[in-house]
Symmetry: C2
């Protein structure tokens, strides 16, 4: 069976559209490449954003519990002021001396454990992972890459080739090996570490046997596209050791967990008490401005830099640097990570309470403000669980709340609000989830769906 790769997408004819949206979709289809997809049965149309909210053309507000790029809120005025100020002063490239680039690089590496003290900037998380793979392959002399079963690491040719989540139509590299995660495999937490290590050791052995060798274990430490597989903290350590014994590097893809989202730590890998060789950054780094980075240990970065020629005119342009610098300032000054921890706890407690009172929530997994919430009953078939999740997502959308789905079966709500969210937003979200679960359950019970 081919997986439906984006079940929460709009399908033409699926819903009655207003003339305004129908006309816009028709124009969009005529000029954009066919790879563009809209979310929801009834696509949303936004013209304004502010903090936790997006507004449609009728000024109806939608509570954003999905977008992890604007971590500091939509249209953050302080971030935007820094961007505009810099754009009015200078936007230079790195072939010229410019102090802000160095200032920010120093501030950024200071947030990492000792030993991770070098940075190369990029424009996107995909560029970061692409570059990290080039570095790991050059440094290790090996080609193999180990990723999780449903990993997604980006869109470049090399990164798409190690992203099984893109589905059968994107040909995987012959040098990639997938490992299963303990949670989705139904392994109890006490055996999670041993299970993961055994998976990685088998992959390493296979790569070695075929003369490919292992260049890297590339993981997003909260395994977001596998369904948010965060527990128990530390379960990846044995697998990391196995890769290093074989000469490979650990690349921590922090595009999703990084910059405080996990609440307990600035960087997701810290939850697992491992120190990566290379760390890749993207999405929230500029709160929407395209900037990313590879941060890492000196040896692999210097080996690459001294051997290969690498430059990129737009990466590390000063406007992106100034914007990212403002993001980091606000993150630290306003204790955003601590807020993510507190709001994550409040959200989890609220969801647990709902799960006790209403059917429809099968499991809750989270690290800080990144949640996977399995939908539907234990007794339901997988396709029914997925349909239930989709009904909840679209009911929430109609109620003015944005989330989507994740996981192998796409039956988990993917919930990841901007990190500035406050108690009132969490409570609004929880009330909406209660309403949505009741409505979906009613409709199912009445056989209307």
């Amino acid at each position: 069976m081919t997986r439906d790769l984006m079940p929460n997408r709009y399908r033409p004819g699926q819903s009655a559209l207003s003339p305004r949206e129908a006309a816009l979709i028709a124009r969009r289809d005529a000029v954009l490449g066919a790879s563009y997809r809209l979310q929801y049965r009834q696509p949303v149309h936004f013209v304004r954003g502010e903090g936790m909210w997006l507004y449609d053309p009728d000024d109806r507000p939608y509570l954003d519990f999905y977008n992890n790029v604007p971590s500091l809120g939509h249209c953050n005025p302080e971030v935007n002021a820094a961007m505009a100020e810099q754009a009015g002063r200078i936007s230079a490239n790195t072939r010229y001396l410019e102090p802000q680039l160095v200032d920010y690089a120093e501030r950024l590496v200071a947030t990492f454990p000792t030993g991770i003290d070098r940075v190369v900037f990029t424009c996107t998380g995909s560029e970061s992972n692409d570059l990290a793979l080039r570095i790991a392959r050059l440094y290790s002399g090996n080609e193999g890459v180990i990723v999780s079963d449903y990993a997604y690491h980006g869109t470049s040719a090399a990164v798409a080739a190690v992203s099984p989540n893109l589905g059968d139509a994107v040909v995987l590299s012959p040098n990639v090996r997938m490992v299963s995660l303990p949670g989705p495999a139904g392994v109890p937490e006490a055996q999670a570490a041993a299970f993961f290590e055994a998976q990685v050791r088998a992959a390493v052995e296979d790569l070695n046997r075929r003369g490919i060798g292992v260049a890297a274990l590339l993981i997003d430490s909260i395994f977001s596209s596998d369904g948010v597989c965060v527990d128990p903290p530390g379960f990846i350590a044995g697998g990391v050791a196995a890769v290093r014994e074989a000469g490979g590097l650990l690349i921590a893809d922090e595009v999703q967990p990084g910059f405080g989202r996990t609440g307990s730590h600035m960087w997701g890998f810290e939850r697992h008490k491992v120190v990566p060789d290379l760390v890749t950054l993207g999405k929230p780094m500029g709160n929407g401005f395209p900037i990313g980075a590879v941060v890492g240990q000196r040896e692999p970065l210097d080996r690459f830099g001294n051997t290969a020629r690498y430059s990129n005119t737009l990466l590390s342009n000063t406007v992106g640097i100034a914007t990212a610098n403002a993001v980091l300032t606000i993150l630290q000054r306003d204790r955003i990570q601590q807020n993510a921890l507190a709001m994550g706890q409040r959200l989890r407690a609220g969801l647990e309470k709902i799960a006790q009172q209403q059917p429809g929530i099968r499991a809750i997994r989270n690290a800080g403000l990144f949640f996977g919430v399995d939908m539907g009953g234990e007794d339901m078939a997988p396709h029914t669980q997925r349909a239930f999740a989709l009904d909840v997502v679209n009911t929430l959308r109609d109620d003015g709340v944005l989330v989507s789905t994740t996981g192998e079966n796409e039956d988990a709500l993917k919930v990841r609000p901007p990190l500035i969210c406050e108690a009132e937003h969490v409570d609004l979200f929880l009330a909406a989830v209660e309403r949505a679960l009741a409505k979906v359950a009613d409709a199912r019970n009445q056989g209307l769906k």
Copy 2:
């Protein structure tokens, strides 16, 4: 002999540095990856930009005749106002309906010949070329890519593997074939088209014989990193036909020639009277904001979009779209392409006059405001010509004028000022070139170098 890939780079100890710059370089070296390079024997340090000028910390102005990203001038206030206004309103992604994305996409494709009517946005030229290669390979079912001898198309793993200009340390794909260009091969213009076509046919034949097949001819139509090989217009047409006969696509890399730089046309491929299947955009599209695109014919883009899953959160974020929209408005309203044509003619005439009056200019090639100016005498050995070019570049730098080098032997001045440059800037530049040539010739004659 290994080519020196960036002769105009700063080498530690090469020049006496002020304490201010020495301290900044030391901090930079400590925190940035080793791939970062500075330009010039005496690196430049800028803190402010405006129009055609960059300013150092002592407010000394440098005339920028090198940077092609800020086509509309450094810190263009109108572009920046559009960026700031949009950032304060909404920065959405393409999974939601948003009219400006569609508006700009329509305006952009309207600047292309009939048949090129679809667009997918990216953040950089590298991402554009990486995506175009994925599309061409999926559509053609072939893997082979044909590029020019010293082509450079970007930094991702897949694109670096088809960029011979990156040098021996970056392993080329076994599926790439290089073709020589008529100019550097010393072929007279009358035979240029036949020469190029024969080169391409031989490459196609070899790719077919080895079962690789040809996916694409990937070319920057002014061949900037080959030394600016622009003439005669149309010389690539037979080669393009040869690739199409074999089932391959033409990918026009417009990162350098696009958006009016060639003066005669909006897009560089138009000079050659060919219509590409895919066109890749980058650098000047956002005047510094990271935005790029693949624009192309419907069939390959739809085949890819309907088969593979492709998305990118940061690409086509609304702030980039609004910024690019302002750039396109100004380009069209202020007749920037026509200005590039006129100023290119003025610059060419001035350089020709200097070449008649002073030794040191061996040849001048240009399309609009992109120049390759071969330095040194016909009688000099290649390494002396290169040294001469480097002396001129660094003398100009000391005189407050920015250019660099290009070409197989890196003995050509690479001159590509922002497209807003006016007669007074051209005349300032010409006067500086006269002074630099005299100074370098004097120094050589006196045996001081």
